[in-house]
Symmetry: C2
Subunit: 363 residues, 2 copies
């Protein structure tokens, strides 16, 4: 048996232990076929069942209305940064697309979109180092725009939208990569929600895209076939060979989440986990959270110690105790604990114990 470790990496992130064990146990023999799930055709009936099952479980978990399609699209969330304007900018006569900049990935989303539309940043928290979510009022949302794009949880900083802006008839699009299925949201408020799989869903390389049917059919003439959401919906994500392993693992993760009690149950656990760390941070001046308290999410807890030297020592000693991958993103430094759905309360408690102990010895 290997030693007990807790992996706080931001992604690709830890997956639920029972899921990982099932993958291993059936890796050479999927459902008695004598071959692996990664060795069968994406058009085999056994894989089709895996795909349909994953989609159905997502729909059950989220209560997603029938007029939304569930797609698996190559390339992760970042590929969608280009795919979104390629699919949707034409809804607006001036190809106007609105963006809110609340962190590094929000900024990349509008940067990658620039070749494909008139990209307008209507609000940003760059001036305060992304320590908050700026307020979006209805008056700020140009009703001639193709869509408004937000990053609902900001992985690097740990901030999230506690509620979502009113956008009138402009479809709201959310990159939920680092928080999808971590809390209950009303999907009918959104035109499109998407997420790279590698945090709360499965392995890396692919994104799950949820899109309202009436938003399909507006793609640019010059769009790569595999980025066309209408084509992807028509072919049920099998226009070409899908990332079959990723879809299979995602299905198992969704099943695990259902058995756990669904989104209401995991939301409660996630709040307890985040509160455990933030209560500790708020109870001392030794640790300082990087975002303003009212914008705290439950997935990524980013904080600093009194000095860079102490942070280096903290990371070193945490690693030695099996608390892995706590280093903040290379763009900001410091400490970040990513505590996605698969992180058990025991892992968070182990980290909290370590933090208290570290402060006592080095405070």
């Amino acid at each position: 048996m290997s030693k007990q470790v807790y992996n706080f990496g931001a992604g690709p992130a830890m997956l639920p232990v029972p899921v990982m064990e099932q993958i291993r146990d059936e890796f050479l023999d999927f459902q008695g076929m004598g071959v692996s799930i990664i060795e069968i055709s994406h058009r085999a009936k056994q894989f089709e069942k895996v795909l349909l099952d994953a989609q159905e479980r997502f729909r059950q978990l989220t209560g997603l209305p029938d007029n939304y399609k569930i797609l698996f699209v190559h390339g992760g969330a970042r590929m969608q940064f280009a795919a979104l304007p390629l699919n949707l900018a034409n809804r607006s006569a001036g190809r106007k697309c609105l963006y809110v900049e609340t962190g590094n990935f929000a900024k990349l989303a509008n940067k990658d979109a620039k070749p494909f539309g008139d990209i307008q940043v209507i609000a940003s928290s760059a001036d305060t180092n992304y320590d908050r979510i700026p307020q979006i009022t209805p008056a700020m949302v140009d009703q001639d725009a193709a869509y408004l794009h937000i990053t609902s949880n900001n992985t690097i900083y740990g901030s999230r939208y506690q509620s979502f802006p009113e956008t009138g008839k402009v479809p709201l699009i959310a990159d939920q990569t680092s928080e999808i299925l971590s809390r209950q949201i009303d999907y009918s408020r959104f035109g499109c929600v998407y997420a790279g799989l590698q945090k709360n869903l499965g392995p890396s390389g692919t994104a799950l895209v949820v899109i309202r049917e009436d938003l399909l059919g507006h793609a640019a003439a010059e769009i790569p076939t595999l980025l066309n959401y209408e084509t992807c919906a028509k072919d049920n994500s099998l226009t070409n060979t899908a990332n079959t392993f990723a879809i299979y693992v995602t299905g198992l993760v969704l099943k695990w989440l259902q058995e756990l009690g669904g989104l209401a149950a995991i939301e409660k656990v996630n709040e307890q986990k985040a509160r455990t760390l933030y209560d500790l941070i708020d109870g001392t001046d030794y640790y300082r959270g990087v975002i303003q308290p009212e914008f705290r999410g439950t997935m990524n807890v980013s904080f600093n110690l009194p000095s860079g030297e102490l942070e280096a020592k903290f990371l070193q000693e945490a690693g030695e105790q099996g608390l892995y991958a706590l280093k903040g993103h290379r763009s900001v430094g410091g400490i970040r604990a990513s505590i996605y759905n698969a992180m058990p309360m025991a892992g968070v408690e182990a980290l909290a114990d370590f933090m208290r102990d570290f402060e006592a010895k080095n405070g």
Copy 2:
């Protein structure tokens, strides 16, 4: 222990048994880390080593010259159908791109390229149902073109280029998806060679792209960031979260191939396997190969029986004997045995025995 089966699927295809066993054995604990390879960051030093190791093994196996980059690009071969003209069409003043149509995927390659260049099909074997590779003479290759694209092995039909066309200063690009690393080729003859991983390399969802350095830097202004080969080369395939599982498995497959004796060794085995089936087909009128003999490759052996009813019976009984996924592609029907690098001679002999037996009983 599960029953012995042989999986003749065209892709995602069978992978070498020792590779599959290693993946299973270390799935929960990669190199003593206590976490899985699919749970660690694409920027972790352990994954970086996996990536560099896979690239180095590919270079060793192929003797790839130093002025070629090895990239892992999202979306499989089909995504490259769009990425190629997006990266290269601007090399030609008229954005002229030349294509040879030798099968279904060759046709899709030029169809998907159409929005991004002046696509010209200079030769086709469509008129004889893709039963051959048309001859390409130097005079047919417009020297003002950005590139000439061929599909070096045609998965559905089993035809391949036995030698490659002379293209003058026009870069030759080959989709090698269904034959990469199955035989020795001189990479210096090509500007770019690419392949979806899911046949001879690893799991699905990603492509390996080999490109000569001087072909980088010509991308269209309106290109999705993740399809820009120059960006991908600069970031060593880590512009965003790569398909880490696929790259890891590919590295193991490359190691297996090196230990087997490399391309010279596998080429010999592949020739023996194909000859075993084609000798049988040539020795009877009962089975008829779909392509002209001089264009036969070693990866996909496609053939017909005297009637559709007999083909259905053949597939049914083969499946019952553990000979899987022998159904021809939905666009052509009949029988197809895909015998990629990982298919052992024993599997081919089992199929040949079954074919002789079936003919004896049903001939």
